[in-house]
Symmetry: C2
Subunit: 377 residues, 2 copies
DNA sequence: TTGAATTGTGCACACGTTTGCACAATTTGG
DNA sequence: CCAAATTGTGCAAACGTGTGCACAATTCAA
């Protein structure tokens, strides 16, 4: 009945103090065998269990053996195989981080913050690119394969079918500045409503009557959200005809969107004078085109306000008045969310505050419609 | 002799067609059990081996069973556990990517390219931040724990002790635009020599006699390399006194370094007129300070050339003449290097070409020393 | 009709770790 | 001096997958 040798081995009488640690064959192969806990166990004259326990805080291990084991480990350059550990403990230090590339400057800052925040928590992000929706679904599947502790999404939204299959199950998903048709997901957003309100107020307070909102037509949740809140804030004044609002969408993204929007809009004789751009990056494009292509002075001819407060916004070339959202706060919120993910099953719903940063791109509108220079003043 | 039940079980007579697939207990626990190959095996009425083989191309599996297994897998949302697979096959799709944050704009573009290139190869980058040297060593250890296929380093250089312990062993390291005191590592660099030569030529050709090189004093390999080659190229002319070269280091990084350098240098009465900045980002800072703080006109008062060719360099605000290095080519070289990593043991040594991009920041130097305005012209 | 070649599938073990349980050795309390 | 408590360590099983080997079933050749 018993055929293979292995059985015989297993059933053999236990030897004294050595558990089966098959000598790692140092054959002629170029790629040398990895060092395992068995190797250090053999050298230290202990079992693999003991080695394992030496790396845990609360284990009952004598100071003596622990010291010896740690010493030998270091000497051998032994590093725990986290893959094996994860298999055993069913826990993972890996976190999925999916972003739509690093083209958008705010995304870059956000990802940067996330990476260093996660790193401080002892977590390691696998970074995946997801430029389109199907790509995002694929990415989620891939991350599931790595048994990640959590998935942080900073672009796009997972299709609900994928959501049903994976997210529902056991991988918590955190949507950052994203729409949340997936109510199983954790949601963290900056306060787009407050931001849009502040922007509207800033332009109105400066005396602008003809306003415009500029956005990329490929823009996702944030842009649309800001537009809607902007419109909503102005509703009272637009309904009386006191103020006009032009909503401009351009088939480009970021800087180029702003650039094109300026070319298109500022060539109209009676164009708006107060511009709210969905992002700072759009504002940069808008300003460059306004200045260098359309010969406008900012803020004398047109006023501009952005959203994000990128480092570039503070530089003298732009000196852009904008709504600041703090990537550090967003990252912190993600950290908190991940922290309490295994303890509670309730979903996070968090809004991060924003603030108005006044710089030099907003002033009162020109007296006369552009084209006819004013005589007074 | 045989004491535990387990032995009895192992030695028991094999049942008909069902191998031991302990029913995943669907207990009251919130976190539902992961779906494993055993689950789909049971539902498909096959063994786990068969399920495993259904996901491999060349396995001898009947079309019928494969179809059925794949169907059930999909239906169940089964995803291979890559950690377990890696343990078994001793191969990994994970690649370590270590960068010193995403503050430097060229690093961002490079990382972006690397991520999408790796993703196309079916590899997944674990992104680690390594701002300082010890941090880098820690990062390498961490990555070793994850059994990564390779480590790509875009900042700093691993200490040679770590190199000896890990890199030597079996994790191939790729140093990107880095110094290589580690000769076990694979080296990929852009052609700093050619770049510095082109920059020198461009300034000399425009008629400049008083040159300067601007760099951050924290700058690593690339900056130092460019400075040395710049100096070397000019050696003949500086030795005759025909041309002067001032080497400026500032205790800041990137934009701020350039900004400060301009404040310091351009306040001198007889300052240089042709500036080679180690990076475009430094050039931006330099130009902003020169224009807005020192009241200089570019290129009329001072000429500037950068290195990298960032997207921002092409925009009208800067319109910077620069040396272009192509991040895409660097990424491609990394891909090639990784591709042949298991087949050959020889190290990669690759230089990526650069080119001069002429824009609007270089012209002839002003006739008279700045300060005394020229009467003619 | 029989023996050989081919095809499809299961079994058992391996990968490197963690951990409940058992147990020997030591210390403690009475 | 003995029982009980404590301490330190080893054993074996588990995590989920891949794969060499064995073997049954089928096809093919003679």
């Amino acid at each position: 009945m018993i055929t293979t040798q292995a059985y015989a081995h297993v059933c053999a009488k236990p030897k004294k103090h050595v558990d089966k640690t098959p000598m790692t064959k140092s054959g002629p192969g170029i790629k040398t065998q990895n060092i395992t806990s068995a190797d250090v166990a053999r050298l230290a004259g202990v079992s693999r269990s003991t080695v394992s326990r030496c790396f845990k805080k609360d284990s009952r291990i004598s100071d003596n053996t622990r010291k010896r084991v740690l010493e030998i480990s270091d000497q051998l350059g032994y590093q725990v195989n986290k893959l094996a550990r994860s298999m055993s403990t069913k826990e993972s230090d890996l976190v999925g981080l999916v972003s739509s590339g690093l083209h958008d400057p705010f995304a870059v800052i956000l990802v940067d913050q996330l990476i260093s925040t996660l790193q401080k928590m002892g977590l390691h992000p696998i970074l995946l690119d997801a430029s389109n929706e199907t790509q995002l679904d694929i990415s989620i599947k891939k991350l599931a394969q790595y048994q990640v502790k959590s998935i942080v999404i900073t672009s796009g939204s997972p299709s609900s079918s994928i959501g049903a299959k994976f997210i529902n199950r056991d991988i918590p998903v955190i949507l950052l500045n994203r729409a949340g048709q997936l109510d199983q997901a954790n949601l963290i957003n900056c306060d787009n409503q407050k931001g849009a309100m502040l922007a509207a107020q800033a332009l109105i307070d400066a005396g602008h009557k003809k306003l415009a909102f500029i956005n990329s037509s490929f823009s996702t949740f944030s842009g649309v959200s800001r537009r809607d809140f902007f419109e909503q804030t102005l509703a009272l004044k637009t309904s009386t005809g006191d103020v006009t609002l032009e909503k401009i969408n351009v088939d480009e993204t970021g800087y180029e969107a702003g650039f094109k929007a300026a070319l298109k809009t500022l060539s109209q004789p009676d164009h708006p004078t107060g511009f709210f751009c969905a992002t700072d990056n759009i504002a940069f494009g808008f300003m460059d085109a306004a200045r260098y292509e359309m010969g406008k002075k900012i803020p004398d001819d047109v006023s501009v306000i952005g959203f994000d407060d990128l480092p570039l916004s503070a530089r003298p070339t732009y000196d852009l008045t904008t709504i600041k959202q703090c990537p550090n706060d967003l990252a912190k919120a993600v950290a908190e969310c991940i922290d309490k993910i295994d303890s509670t099953s309730e979903r996070t719903r968090k809004i991060i505050p924003v603030s108005l940063i006044k710089r030099k791109t907003i002033t009162a509108p020109p007296q006369e419609p552009s084209g006819k220079p004013s005589l007074k003043d």
